[in-house]
Amino acid sequence: MSQNKRALLLVGSPKCEKSNSEAIGTYLMELLGEKGVVWDRAYSYRLTRTADGREKLLNDVHRADILVFASPLYIDSIPSFTIKAMELINEHRRSTESPKEQKLFVVVNSGFPEPAHNQTALAIYRRFALESGLKWAGGARIGWGMAIDGRPLDSVGGMVRNLKKGLQLAAEALAANIQVSKEAEELMSKPFMPLFLAKLMTSVAGGVGWNRQARKNGVKEKMYDKPYETY
């Protein structure tokens, strides 16, 4: 049934190919590919920077039947250049007489252990769908992205089993042209480990990790610098 369907993964991270958004989005797209969906990938960070890129973005989006936007959380919301891409898509669709019927599925991921951090970004994506005449297919809120670290999900291990199961269900729904179920959304959004443990590890191991990187750059002693202090 999904033989002729096309899907586009719009990666909303400036880390592009090395991002968690790419890793999670690609996993979903490959599952769609197995179901006969022809898919492609684009990067909002690159495409929104030039006029040619912006035109390509709109063309890529127009070709798809299924849009999958995957982005990191930046200050409680979506990165600025991905919002720019959304503004462009919205303007384009609103100025088109009969915009194509398309659906939108989104993935928001962050380094915080609590998936709830991503709630507002997800709500913004949902509004974007509504205001742009896209059919909302659902979304995933993924926390503790450091566990993925840009790696393909199959190499991450058991921690992402629920995420993978949820993505499998999402792919089945998207290919069958039905709404992604709440069950799938909850599976994808389930913390990778008990929340208290993830919070503890973030607080302790997170700090150790930053210190290690700073030491490598020779700035460990400057981590608390206040270059703009006025008193």
């Binding site: 200050i75 609590e114 709500a123 205001e131 607080s203 700090g207």
Partner: protein
């Protein structure tokens, strides 16, 4: 006391222009020193999430453009005011570009706020936050998302007082004055 207005309007946005003028008047008459930054006139690249401002040049963004000044202004202000057309319930890309570049005011280290993990602040100074969003027509769902976003931003910067106002584009100067006056009063920056 210093206030900074980040104006995230698009070209020819008369409503946000009026809001900005009114807020400047209201704050100036309460003896605030106000600086307005019209973001579309600045050269601000999008944050690349490289964390260089934490682990390479702590406190300073490694991108050398006007975004550095944004972080500096945010760090040195007592009051931050964001103005934006409400965009899918959130901020315009123009405003978000600046907000994303304030990352250097945070530390990479974590703390708990109401049991939730957040970043610690680099500076002792805390900013009150007032955000005004403009809607073309009343839309309660979009306004609700907007208010939730402002709440989340306030938690992020450990703000001592914050608030938001949603103003309809067709509003006149009198209504704008009343709404912004109430907002500024609610967060304790004008009498």
């Amino acid at each position: 006391m210093k206030a900074v207005i980040f104006d995230g309007s698009k070209n020819n946005d008369d409503t946000i222009g009026t809001i900005s003028q009114v807020v400047v008047e209201q704050l100036s008459s309460a003896r605030w020193n106000v600086e307005t930054i019209i973001l579309r006139h600045k050269r601000i690249a999008g944050c690349t999430g490289c964390f260089g401002c934490w682990i390479q040049t702590p406190g300073i963004c490694i991108i050398d453009d006007d975004g550095r000044g944004i972080a500096k202004q945010a760090a040195q202000a007592d009051l931050l005011i964001f103005l934006t057309p409400i965009t899918f319930g959130g901020y315009s890309s123009e405003l978000k570009k600046a907000v994303d570049r304030t990352l250097p005011v945070l530390l990479p280290y974590f703390t708990l706020v109401n049991g939730e993990v957040h970043h610690r602040m680099r500076y002792k100074r805390r900013q009150r936050l007032a955000v005004v969003g403009v809607q073309t027509s009343p839309d309660p769902e979009s306004a609700h998302i907007f208010e939730a976003l402002v709440e989340r931003n306030a938690i992020n910067i450990h703000s001592p007082a914050h608030g938001s106002a949603v103003i309809i584009q067709a509003s006149g100067a009198r209504e704008i004055r009343e709404r912004t006056g109430r907002l500024l009063k609610n967060i304790g920056v004008v009498a």
